[in-house]
Symmetry: C2
Subunit: 433 residues, 2 copies
């Protein structure tokens, strides 16, 4: 059986640690939301307030948020909050009436992309964006074959869950889906990536399935945060030769997080047919989207149409505009680059004193740290570190096919001072292990 990497984000709360209030809320959750909901950490965190890189519990204790890719410009950024509140009080309607806000934002967003990616369509979630990409790829190519990496996560709609193997063995992959090994340095790296995609294409065709899509999270977040580059060009060419399209899933690496580029695919020197956007786009407001080459949607748009009641409504547009303004005005991509480098160096230094710290990978403020014992992946130890940090009031998680990669992904307003706090507390936790 494959490891079920998402379970590492789904601890069963240990009754021992819980306060009375926490225990009550855990029971209420089970009663009201049912058994499909999971909480982070053996000792779940009860949060009441957020500001910048800090989250606060009911007792007023501060937690350093080193994991939140949603509140990407900082929790409750005043410029964003003000934009949401002002527009919500003015008009909150959809895209079947004319409104300037969605167009002003579309214009500003598309200016951050290569000119070939000329249109943007709005949804509410990254799942919806990938689902729409799939619908249009099926329509454009006449195929249905989908190729993804082995531990990929692309979303939770029925269609998208069928190519999100990280959801675990209880969620079936579709018969039209093929997986390829991620470019994992621990497993021979990226040399064979294009060849693996070619093999998957051939296997689809051998089964009478026409390839439609190669979709890749350009920083391979669920595959263990794999930051290498240089190997995607051949894979994109292969899917194009087979008549399929290439989708860059930028829900996790996008909006400047990698420091080196606004969009993760730019680090790879490739040009996607479609680019899906999500989590950080509205700093918590449910807005997402799909940026694409006009030729992909030309036929779909002439025959069918697309409407998403809330997607790109006036409040979504105003909020997303404010987020992009903050990213640009506050130089957050550049901050991610500089602080990310210091973070990486600090983790490597710490690794010299703690044998369980293996390889450190990073691009800007997206970092992955292998947790090992005698050189082998150690998921149990990674879980102890994640839970130990939570007790030290630092929030991160773990990921990867072997569930042993610390996933470090703070708000982009993270400073070197915050890095220092993180490293101090990690040092303490590792020493106590």
């Amino acid at each position: 059986m494959r490891p079920d990497s998402t379970m590492i984000n789904a601890f069963v709360p240990g009754a021992a640690n819980l306060t009375e209030e926490e225990a009550l809320l855990v029971r209420k959750r089970q009663a009201l939301l049912g058994p499909a909901y999971r909480l982070f950490y053996e000792h779940p965190v009860l949060l009441v307030r957020g500001e910048g890189v800090w989250l606060y519990d009911a007792a007023g204790e501060a937690y350093l948020d080193v994991y939140n890719n949603v509140a990407s410009v900082g929790h409750c950024h005043p410029h964003v909050v003000e934009a949401t509140a002002r527009q919500a009080a003015t008009l909150a309607t959809h895209t079947r009436y004319l409104h300037n806000g969605v167009l002003a934002y579309a214009d500003k967003l598309l200016a951050t992309f290569p000119a070939e990616l000329g249109h943007v369509m709005f949804t509410c979630t990254g799942s919806e964006a990938n689902d729409l990409a799939l619908r249009m790829a099926f329509a454009k190519t006449g195929g249905t074959g989908v190729i993804v990496t082995e531990t990929a996560y692309h979303g939770v709609t029925l269609a998208v869950s069928q190519f999100s193997p990280s959801l675990g063995p209880s969620v079936n992959l579709g018969p039209h889906v093929r997986t390829v090994p991620a470019p994992d340095p621990a497993r021979g790296g990226d040399a064979g990536f294009a060849a693996a995609v070619e093999d998957a294409i051939e296997d689809l065709q051998r089964h009478g399935i026409k390839p439609a899509v190669l979709i890749v999270d350009t920083i391979f977040s669920s595959d263990g945060v794999l930051t290498g580059t240089g190997f995607l060009k051949g894979a994109v060419e292969a899917i194009h030769r087979a008549g399929g399209l290439f989708i860059a899933d930028e829900v996790q690496p996008g909006f400047g997080r990698t420091g080196e580029a606004m969009w993760g695919f730019q680090r790879h020197g490739i040009l996607p047919d479609m680019v899906s956007l999500g989590k950080p786009m509205g700093n918590g407001y449910p807005v997402a989207g799909l940026v694409l080459r006009p030729e992909v949607v030309a036929e779909f748009g002439a025959k069918a149409r697309y409407f998403n009641t809330f997607g790109g409504n006036a409040v979504a547009a105003a909020t997303a505009m404010a987020v992009l303004e903050v990213v640009q005005r506050e130089g957050l991509q550049q901050n991610a680059l500089i602080v990310g480098r210091a973070f990486h160096a600090g983790l490597e230094q710490l690794g010299q004193r703690h044998g369980c710290i293996g390889a450190v990978r990073s691009a800007g403020l997206f970092l992955g740290v292998e947790v090992v014992s005698d050189g082998a992946a150690d998921a149990a130890k990674a879980a102890r570190i994640v839970n130990g940090l939570r007790e030290a009031r630092v929030l991160i998680s773990a990921t990867g096919p072997r569930a042993n990669v610390l996933k470090i992904r703070p708000p982009l307003v993270f400073s070197e001072e915050h890095v220092g706090i993180f490293l101090d507390r990690l040092d303490t936790v590792l020493t106590a292990l």
Copy 2:
């Protein structure tokens, strides 16, 4: 070819009517958003502000909103706007940390349902809610067969679009989907509804497809606003006998709109296995959900899990809570009942003077008016009325398999005074036809 009922909501703007600013925005939309986006009305409306049942254009002209099921408690209701703004400034995080807001809302929402419907799961859109319902129905039943009405609309994800025939002939129905005639009084009414569902079940089985789902919008909005009751019980029993589940899609009739009940399925005296919620839930904020019997999710939840980054986040919960408070405090269900009756009576009166007004159907503030010529459906005339009303600054639309049903669905704060304004302007438009 089937009529493509959604095209009636997608007029090509007539160049003649547009101001320079409107024409510029129409061109910008096409350039930025691409060809899959459509606008309402031959002469699209450029809106800048909303308040109560009124929308305002850039010149300050007021439009009576008789169509908006999203801003259900009135545009920019101050109690809702304040809740959104306050929570957005405090904390906007997801359901993997403990937070009281989502539980308080879940509790209050579930209290409006029969006790058997014990859990609620949160999504961002009605499409996501129906998609999740399908995933769980497939997991629970082991089947994949889906039965819907002939002109149903349930959403735009790939899986849900496959059972949304109103999207038109360019969007394929799935091979596992069967349609049944809606209980349309113009086509023999509802007498044979349960028998048609039984036939569809038999046809699925004959093709080796196990029935999983019968899903019904309990006011049949896209099938022409069909307000009859009494025929669903047999259909629900039939799908249960076949091992499938019944989903009530309450995105349009829910939250008190029908006046007679908080939820449309209650008008029919039936108990669904799952209930999907959407548009009016957050008065414009992207929040939606799925209410269900615990036994539906028990196995799914034990094996798999569900996470939606924005679904049920702290701001979504606070906003939805404020909406539900307004519905209850302001007695909007009761208002829908009383004002809806006056509205119905007024339309019938108007019909005595205008031959093109055929049958009037209603449940609370959800009304459908057949537009006819010599007793036959007249889609062209319905379109002229919709566009004529827009010029008279009244916003409605049309729907139904013959695209001839005026769809009237104002915010629930609509008063008899507003009804009077609507009827006056409709009278003028009909007289001028």
